[in-house]
């Protein structure tokens, strides 16, 4: 008999809070096997875990649709709010103003954002409400079985819906036009880029729009679709290679010749490594031009198109107290007897 070699169990990887990644899971997904949305949920779990977010400090929001089911599938110890179709922006605005210490992560879809919710979306962007806004964009309505959404390609064909005769809306362009301070596009199959973008979006003090192409394996994953896995894998063109350096990371960033560093509000950084042409994500005109060209040429260009970390967030603009409004006591919110007497005397 030969002695079996002793093996020591590999210690699980822990994050800054001393937690394993599994602690950031939610309920089991009920989406179709292979759904792009599940990959995005996995990236959110990973980003939250790696950044060491305390789940009690996070609130999850969504509207209605397949994408909007996903907040149940990540960060199980965070409060979640699956709201109305296209109305996540207003709900999250109210909640994040009521408690300014919360970290908001919202997940929406292309129908939820670009069709029924385009109005609220643009006003959320305009107000710069501090939260992450992920659009899981597959160009099709899944839950109602395969109708076109407002981001579906022109002349695209779908099994039941036929051919789409309308021009698509580009979520990143819409965000930019509404004065967004963080506009990015990614692909559900690009885990590394998505990780960096999600972390930067969480660190950003303002609204961060992440338009993530997320194939619908059931209704819109055929070759002719620009929102399919095949298309994404073959044609994704990253603008740059992204990495996120958290504020607590002791590593001093030495900017290489082909790298640009964007400092975020909390001291963390997003590092952009050049691929091909130089791209300055603080140049709004460049962002417009780049997005419009990509749209016209039906290119899946990914990366961060625009970032402006200095604009005050909605919560900053409101000039509210540092204590969350929801936690103020009666003594802090009911003016004095004298105050009423004074106002009465004026009447």
């Amino acid at each position: 008999m030969t002695a079996t070699p002793t093996r020591t169990a590999r210690a699980p990887k822990l994050n800054p809070l001393g937690l394993e990644k599994t602690a950031y899971k939610g309920a089991d997904s009920t989406l179709c096997n292979g759904c792009g949305h599940d990959s995005i949920s996995a990236r959110i779990i990973n980003a939250a875990w790696e950044m060491g977010l305390k789940q009690q400090d996070v609130v999850k929001f969504s509207g209605i649709g397949c994408s909007s089911k996903t907040p149940a599938y990540f960060l199980g110890m965070s409060h979640g709010f699956n709201s109305l179709h296209g109305r996540m922006p207003s709900v999250s605005t109210g909640a994040l103003v009521a408690n300014r210490t919360l970290i908001g992560i919202g997940v929406s879809g292309d129908g939820d954002t670009a069709s029924i919710g385009i109005g609220q979306f643009k006003h959320l962007v305009r107000r710069n409400v501090p939260m992450v806004y992920v659009v899981e964009n597959n160009g099709v309505y899944g839950l109602t079985k395969g109708q076109f959404s407002a981001t579906a390609d022109l002349n695209q064909t779908l099994k039941y819906a036929g051919t789409n005769p309308y021009m698509p809306l580009d979520i990143c362009l819409e965000a930019l036009a509404a004065n967004a301070t963080f506009v990015a596009r990614s692909f559900a199959g690009d885990a590394k880029q998505l990780d960096a973008l999600l972390k930067a979006a969480i660190a950003h003090n303002g609204l961060a729009v992440l338009d993530v192409i997320s194939p619908c394996v059931t209704f819109n994953n055929h070759e002719s679709s620009t929102k399919s896995y095949a298309f994404g894998k073959e044609f994704e063109i990253p603008l740059h290679e992204l990495s996120f350096v958290p504020s607590y990371d002791p590593i001093e960033i030495t900017e290489e010749a082909d790298e640009t560093e964007v400092k975020l509000h909390d001291g963390s950084s997003l590092v952009l490594k050049r691929l091909g042409n130089d791209y300055d994500p603080t140049d709004k005109y460049l962002a417009y031009r780049t997005l419009e060209e990509a749209r016209q040429q039906q290119k899946l260009l990914t990366g961060i198109f625009y970032i402006e970390p200095q604009t005050p967030s909605f919560v900053d603009t409101l000039q509210i107290t540092d204590t969350p409004l929801a936690q103020l006591s009666q003594a802090q919110t009911r003016p004095s007897r004298e105050a009423l007497a004074q106002l009465m005397a004026k009447l």
């Binding site: 709201s83 109210g94 408690n99 000039q319 936690q327």
Partner: protein, 611 residues
């Protein structure tokens, strides 16, 4: 200078009429007449005279006809009254019909530049040389139109004996002590007064005189300001709104009052947020989000806004999120009659949403109740974890009412069943071993416990969804889960019956009939009952202050042969609700409903009962 046109022979006044008449001012809107009308009503009020002002204005910025109706009643009847004794005509577009509206024996003051075709013989005329007086006052062209309306203040003050010192006080108050506009307007008022004194023969019978016994301990205020002040003192922390007449002034008053009283002493930062949303749908979405996160959140709107809020309010009922919705009711869908009053949203508010659902509805009758019910609404919304309506209307919201001085709210804020991290730890022990479930009814009142985001406890989180859910807030499409949840919500609504403000009853010995009414109809009902009593018909009265009704309402209806349900809408919406809730008593209920955009009058109510 011309003297009074006296078609009727000059006469000795045989009987003076003191503090008991109706004064109607016809102007074009946007001409600054509001300031003049405010001076009149405020100085009368400060002379101790029971007075009420109803502004009948168009949905327009400038140039369309506006009337301001000031009723003086020494007996304290403050409903809208149809008879007009004194007419002030400043608008050529309506002067003919305005002059016709005066009762025989009445008087008419008018801008002498208006086209007046013929004079009636049964009224007295007082033409006012408005142009000449304005010209003499030497004011810049842009201000002429505004000060022109001060002419009728001065002339009316002379004819009616309004104390000039009170007019000056009202002017100081109106312009918050700013010397320039005060001086400008005051010089016009006094010039007109002096002109009248030197020129007019004052042989008309209407006079005012200082009195006491009614206005003490009151304030003159509109309901929207009162609701705003009430909300500020109710500890609101979040408001979202979208401009819509007649509710905008509620939000705007909140902005003003909160800025004065709700700043953190050390930092001067706000202890509240008020957000002007992109529409009513977003406004209620923000309120639902804020309420969910633990804020005291409200919105103010009117009928069309309520329609847009339907899905969110139904959702709020089902997901059990506190929210307060003020509906300052106006007429009709879309534009409707946006500057006219009604009680037409009662059914819509009570049942708003799809699927089953009902909402507590508070029914303030005057600004004082607007102030008080602002607190009640929050307490109920948080206690019951549900959207709560406050149904005011344009008449209360935008008109000035003599209102009992507001008392400082003595009851502590009721924040409802919100669990802290420590309470979560102790929950099982305190509830017979049951672990906490967001929609679990452990107390038997249908009201579960909730946590708010940010609670530092690993078990605090739950997932809010409109989808079917179990008592532990997990997803469920099981039939029994859905039904059990609906039944619990119905139980919760039964709990609400005992928590909402009780009706106010005035029962009269020997009365066989009664009036049941709500909200702004109150002054008209009070006056109608007095008239009916004069005619030998004693009536009892129940003023409903909230839905759902409680057992007192049933017992009251049971005691009378006939109960007239008086309301300001076409279909008798309250009547319909009562038929549903008291089916066995339907033969006793009589609907008295009317909807023409105006507050109900005592005459109309009286006729419903006597004819």
């Amino acid at each position: 200078m011309s003297v009074t046109v006296q078609e009727a022979p000059a006469k000795q006044v045989s009987q003076w009429v003191y503090n008991d008449f109706n004064l109607n001012v016809a102007t074009a809107n946007g001409s600054g007449s509001q300031t003049s009308n405010n001076l009149l009503i405020r100085s009368l009020y400060k002379m101790g005279i029971p007075v009420t002002g109803k502004n009948l204005f168009p949905s327009n910025i400038q140039g369309l006809p506006t009337w301001y109706n000031i009723r003086l009643s020494k007996d304290g009847f403050l409903a809208r009254r149809e008879r007009v004794e004194i007419m002030i005509c400043m608008n050529g577009a309506t002067v003919a019909e305005d002059m016709e509206s005066v009762v025989p024996g009445g008087i008419i003051l008018y801008d002498d530049s208006l086209p007046v075709a013929n004079h009636r013989k049964d009224v007295q005329y007082y033409p006012m040389p408005v142009k000449a007086l304005v010209k003499a006052a030497d004011v810049t062209y842009t201000l002429q139109r505004y000060v022109a309306n001060m002419v009728y203040v001065g002339v009316a003050a002379f004819l009616l004996d309004i104390e000039m010192a009170e007019i000056k006080n009202a002017l100081d108050w109106n312009f918050d002590g700013k010397p320039k506009p005060i001086q400008l307007n005051w010089s016009m008022v006094t010039a007109a007064y002096e002109w009248a004194q030197q020129t007019l023969v004052n042989d008309q019978p209407y006079r005012v005189r200082r009195m006491s016994g009614f206005n003490e301990g009151t304030v003159l205020i509109d309901g929207n300001s009162a609701g705003a002040l009430g909300s500020v003192f109710a500890g609101f922390t979040f408001a979202a709104w979208y401009p819509i007449t007649p509710s905008s002034s509620l939000a705007e008053s909140m902005i003003s009052y909160a800025a004065q009283t709700r700043r953190e002493p050390e930092t001067q930062k706000a202890t509240y947020a008020i957000v002007q949303a992109e529409d009513e749908l977003a406004a209620i979405g923000m309120v639902i989000g804020a309420g969910w996160a633990g804020a005291r959140a409200l919105t103010a709107t009117s009928g069309p806004g309520i329609s847009l809020m339907a899905e969110f309010i139904g959702f709020g009922y089902f997901t059990e999120i506190p929210a307060v919705i003020w509906d300052i009711q106006r007429m009709g869908p879309s534009t409707g009659l946006p500057t006219r009053t009604s009680q037409g949203d009662l059914l819509a508010a009570y049942f708003l949403g799809h699927g089953d659902g009902r909402h507590p509805v508070l029914l303030p009758a005057d600004p004082t109740e607007c102030f008080e019910m602002a607190s009640t609404a929050f307490d109920l919304a948080e206690r019951l974890q549900t959207p709560v309506f406050v149904l005011s209307d344009l008449d209360i919201g935008m008109n000035l009412w003599i209102s009992k001085e507001f008392s400082y709210p003595e009851t502590p804020l009721d924040r409802g069943k919100v669990l802290t991290a420590q309470q979560l730890d102790a929950f099982k022990e305190e509830h017979n071993g049951q672990r906490w479930g967001r929609y679990l009814d452990v107390d038997g009142d249908g009201i579960p416990y909730r946590t708010v985001p940010g609670t530092d406890h690993p078990a605090a989180a739950y997932f809010t969804r409109g989808t079917g859910h179990t008592p532990y807030a997990t997803y469920s499409e099981r039939a029994s889960d859905w039904e059990n949840n609906l039944q619990r919500l119905a139980r919760k609504f039964e709990t609400a019956r005992s928590l909402v403000p009780a009706p106010i009853l005035q029962e009269v010995d020997g009365a066989r009939i009664a009036i049941l009414s709500m909200g702004s109809n109150h002054p008209a009902v009070v006056e109608a009952r007095s008239r009916l009593l004069d005619q030998g018909i004693p009536t009892s009265y129940l003023r409903l202050r909230a839905l759902p009704i409680n057992s007192e309402v049933r017992a009251f209806v049971e005691r009378y042969e006939r109960v007239y349900v008086v309301e300001n809408n076409r279909d008798g919406q309250l009547y319909e609700i009562l038929l549903t809730e008291l089916p066995g008593l339907s033969t006793r209920l009589v609907s008295a409903a009317k909807c023409d955009g105006l507050p109900l009058s005592a005459r109309w109510i009286t006729e419903q009962i006597t004819q």
